[in-house]
Symmetry: C2
Subunit: 120 residues, 2 copies
Amino acid sequence: MKAIILFGHGARDNRWREPFDRLAELWRQQHASTPVALAFLEMMSPTLEEAVSLLSAQGATQITVVPVFFGQGGHLRNDFPALLNACRKTYPQIALSATPAVGEEQAVLQAIVDFGARAL
Amino acid sequence: MKAIILFGHGARDNRWREPFDRLAELWRQQHASTPVALAFLEMMSPTLEEAVSLLSAQGATQITVVPVFFGQGGHLRNDFPALLNACRKTYPQIALSATPAVGEEQAVLQAIVDFGARAL
């Protein structure tokens, strides 16, 4: 079974995660047959490994991780691949892949441009 | 004259800013009559105040700042309003407003969900 993890940075302020909760809810409404979990790099839970464990317990065998980050700096170029490799070692039975950061996606950038244009 | 500032967090790795440069380029292609500037909270330049100065020199009188952040944590709830107020004091002739973070925009979240769905 396929599943998806929406992976964010995390922050001290708990309200920071609200758009991530909305993202997961939107996913559930539109892709109910594909389980979704959030995961965070730091300061929020669950971790990436905890999210993989959760989805594995639900029967996931192929998990795609979507980094919900704009830029690809040290977190995505260094920390994230290391976390992903650690998860692959802990869960060798799961096919774990990752997309580029959502900031690489033209439709995301276009939605931001349109949002700005409406606000002028 | 109206203008827009796309305001991001900033990072040590210079490649982190690539999606921001693409965002500004997309804006220029589609809204050529409304000048755009990037600005960063930390670790990258220009600062918000430098971006306001730049656009003011180009003749901007009304500037909308779009926080290109997903979550609204301490940076957007505390640091950003303080920076915005400092800019208002330095440039009282400019009408400076701000939108919510782009993570509050449903179309942005939908574009992320669609990106994830295509990657499965």
